[in-house]
Symmetry: C2
DNA sequence: TATTTTTACTTGCATTTTACAAGTGTAAAG
DNA sequence: CTTTACACTTGTAAAATGCAAGTAAAAATA
């Protein structure tokens, strides 16, 4: 588990203290796309996170109120993770990451299609997806 | 030095492969604010990066064309670092980080003042600062 | 000119974090 | 009743980080 010790009062530094590693924002990404994920869903992502790291990151994100755990409606054996409002509010940041990456890397077609929508009306896109994720 | 091995084709993942650690974006932050920094300038930042980590990060950012080294006009003993266009283009992302942090943390007054300007005209703010950094 | 200081790193090593493999406990399915 | 699914935990080697000290070239100072 990474400690959440604050390095400075800078907002950038404080933010990185929470999600400034190679995995946390991928978890957030999965949840922004899927709205709800189980532990197993995260493991299925292309990057191949290991189980112990996933558990540690989920705990840290939960402790920092970025995500929350919910009981799965179908089974007690499953757990649902979803974003809190604080986590949903990372959407603008996530969009800018994608836009930057689109400019400097080659990215998958489906993501390009999404960004086309974003560029048409960024504010509208954010509002619509936020609403969907909150419901 | 961290390896730059690509974990997937996801733009978020590719981005994190480059600057997804606790220090890289702080270096970018310093350069977005100051336009140019020496090695010693980075060491002065409040977070207290150690010299070996700083050297490793500067090298990785340079290899990924986020920053570039320039000879210092006053002295051969000094080195100037500045952002490339690719690095300057991280400004929208940096702004969203600050906006998110402002909502969920208490942040310094001077940063609040900056964000007030951002909120008045985000596009204008980005264009103006980009122009300044490019010159 | 000789010496000291500044600047940008490098090196060594202890501590922490990560990655990989395997295992555990509970719930659900057959 | 046994097997499978699911969400983790544990152990350990590899890698990254943090800290202190050291180095080499250039600049400032005596």
């Amino acid at each position: 588990m990474p400690k959440a010790k604050k390095r400075s009062d800078c907002p950038v530094s404080c933010s990185l203290d929470i999600w400034g590693d190679k995995w946390s924002l991928l978890i957030v990404r999965d949840l922004l796309f899927a709205k709800e994920c189980t532990y197993g869903d995260f493991l299925k992502s292309a990057e191949g996170i290991s189980t112990n790291i996933l558990a540690a990151r989920l705990l840290a994100l939960e402790e920092n109120r970025i995500i929350e755990k919910l009981p799965h409606p179908d089974s007690k054996a499953k757990v649902l993770y979803r974003l809190t409002r604080k986590g949903i509010d990372l959407l603008p940041l996530m969009i800018e990451i994608n836009l930057w990456a689109e400019k400097y890397f080659s990215i998958p077609e489906d993501r390009k299609a999404m960004l086309k929508e974003v560029k048409k009306d960024k504010t509208g896109f954010i509002k619509a997806l936020t609403k969907k994720l909150e419901s």
